[in-house]
Amino acid sequence: MIRRLLAINMRALMSSASLRGNALSRRRGGAPRGAAGKIGVFGLVAFVIWAMLYFFYQIFSMMHDVLFAIDLGWLYFALGAVIVFSLCVVTNIFNAQAQIFDARDNELLLSMPIRPSAILTARILSLLAMEYAFEILVAAPAFYLWLSGGHASAVGVMCFVAGFVLLPLPALAVSCLLAWILSLLTSRFARKNITQLIISLAFLVVYFKFATSLQSFAANLVQSGAALAAAFRRALPPLYFYGSSVADGDPLRALLFALCAVLPFVLTVALLSANFIKSATTKVGIKKRQYREKAARQSSVFGALLRREAARYLSNAMFILNMSLGSIFTLVAAVALVVQRSAVVAQLLSIAAQLDIITTISEVPVLARLGAALYSPALAVCLALMMMASMCCASAALVSLEGGTLWILRSVPVPARDVLLSKAGFHMVLVAPPVLIASVLASVSLFGGDISSVALAIILPQLFILLTALGGLALNLKMPRFDWLNELQPVKQGAPIILTSLGAMALILGAALLYLLVAGQYMSPTSFGWLMAAALAALDILLYRWMVTFGARRFDSLAA
């Protein structure tokens, strides 16, 4: 039974991410997707995997040289385990809440002759599969560096493999427990969304604090390695067992670590199994709001559609967090820029001056162009704002989110183009104002009276946001999924969301490389920015035309 349930969960997960099934591999009507489409999609996915592997490779290569040189090889693996643990916990808390406690099919499955523990185990195993996917991005570079460094032994490799299997278990236990607590807390408050949002933001703050302290820990390690290692060993003995089992090839310590990893996991599953029916089905009574008739106000159709999107967005804290994280970062960064203005300007000028010196000695033209971009930072500010805006891909989930309610929009006398434009408009309402504020603050802080730079910092990011709004919507129209089990699936794991975000980042990186490698020798950064603005405006117009013609027809053909 667990196998069957697991297969259902995995199918739901994979179909929402659309790594298989009709969204990526099939066109509308069932014909296989063309080779160019497949190459494009897998190219983007491969790019992200490569970027993450490269990022962790850099981190581990720093740690590897230092730690093995001072004979603290075990700490190399222990720190790797800390990274895996934190990555798995943070990425899975909300997934665990959505897939275990808020799943749409909980009541259906519980009404069948299936043991609740089997339902829970299947859900936990599908989360575990996701954790292994994250873990491999961390473990692969660590393993490669260890092997190529010549420190590995046969027993050590076996302990590493065993550790790979066991490491996500305690992380998953913590995720599930936190998700359970989150579920209990939010069900007891009348303003569930605000409570959930505050708790979620608190988790994020704790995570970033942890990530920052990890960096300073690594920096301090070089100076006072032995003392810190001893403190680490005292504070987290299971990680010492794991690290030393791999570094020294000690199976006994591997066994001790296995015990430390499996025990909390088993206890957590037992605890949640005992409470699963109650947690999944109990609805704590919230005080009923009394309806009082108010003077109704007639609004325009577009206004009503826009408010409908806003109501959906505000109905779920996870929607708010996922669709607005980039906007929150943008505002925080903009305020920080104003507060730290002189330090940021000094830093930029210092880097630019260093690049000048290097360029004079080595005559590397790319560095000269990079320096020019820092002296006149309008383009750099635009690209940074665009990068943060690319984290907001709300429009890429708005078609899929219609789910079973699509019949409403399809049966009312509203043209499909108005529906689609309201979705793109909602994306703009969500993302454009914070970026506009950030553009103005950055302009005030960095550009002074340079009108061209100010105008570019305002116009270019807005054109980019319009492109992501329309592009995300177009992708969701091409790959809609209405069969999700939890409404967070299209928002967090949907292929259109992933592709929009990756595509937007690829566009920004492509533009930066184009300037540094080619265009920088012919024009200033600001001129390149204006050229880019013209290209984005042209793309916006093309996508808008597609949206109101083919896109509207596509929406009208979706099965309600």
Partner: protein, 242 residues
């Protein structure tokens, strides 16, 4: 009010509706009867513009649902068999959204919401989120939203499923009222008794094909609707499947 000519709809190899022709006149309450999978919901979805026909023509009040969908949709109201509504809205917000979409003036919508809200005993629940509603309450809310713009044609898929007896009686009265005011109602049902008592005309569909249609007396003769239905069903079913 509603004219269907030669409607055909396929899903892959399956012929869901085969060359179906019927018409509903103003003032008529028209019952659409058939077994599960006979093609009732497909026909209804095609009438409302939710499915594009492979062949045939559907007009609502003279407007083609494929060529002039907005004009046709303004005249009709659709109530699905299992209404999935916006769980993220309260009942009143949902009604106001639908009223805005149909351009119902503020005063009219307030009166309509008050009248039908009280009739279905839903007024007290309108400030609650739709997600907290039972199936029957969602059905009532969908019905009120369908009545907000005073439709000329009501298309309903199994409208009596999930309603309590009181609400069911209220719905029957409302539907009769729509017809008495010159509108028309076209609804599918499994409940043959309801169809027999309520409808002016009926159509029986089996395996996508219309096997009988017309006035009650014309279709029934001296038999009950149940007898006629089973007889026609048996006749329409290929002998090897019986």
């Amino acid at each position: 009010m509603l004219k269907i000519e030669g409607l055909t709809k396929r899903f892959g190899d399956k012929l869901a509706v085969d060359n179906l022709t019927l018409s509903v006149n103003p003032g008529e309450l028209y019952g659409f009867i058939g077994h599960n999978g006979a093609g009732k919901s497909t026909t209804i979805k095609a009438i409302c513009g939710l499915l594009t026909p492979d062949a045939g023509e559907i007009t609502v009040g003279g407007y083609s649902i494929t060529r002039e969908p907005l004009e046709a949709k303004r005249l009709l109201a659709y109530l699905p068999d299992n209404p999935d509504l916006y769980n993220f809205m309260t009942g009143i917000k949902y009604l106001n959204f639908i009223a805005d979409v149909y351009g119902v003036p503020a005063v009219e919508r307030r009166e309509c919401i008050r009248e039908y809200g009280d009739l279905f005993e839903l007024t007290g629940e309108l400030a609650q989120p739709v997600s907290s509603y039972s199936h029957g309450m969602k059905q009532k809310l969908a019905l009120i939203s369908a009545l907000l713009h005073a439709p000329r044609l009501m298309i309903m898929d199994e409208p009596f499923v999930g309603l309590d007896p009181k609400a069911s009686k209220a719905v029957r009265d409302i539907l009769r009222g729509v017809c008495d005011n010159g509108g028309a109602v076209f609804f599918s049902t499994h409940v043959l008794e309801v169809a027999e008592k309520l409808c002016d005309r009926v159509a029986i569909i089996s395996r996508g094909r219309l096997v009988a249609s017309g006035g009650m007396e014309e279709v029934l003769g001296s038999e009950s609707l149940e007898d006629v239905f089973f007889e026609l069903e048996a006749r329409a079913t290929p002998s090897e499947m019986q």
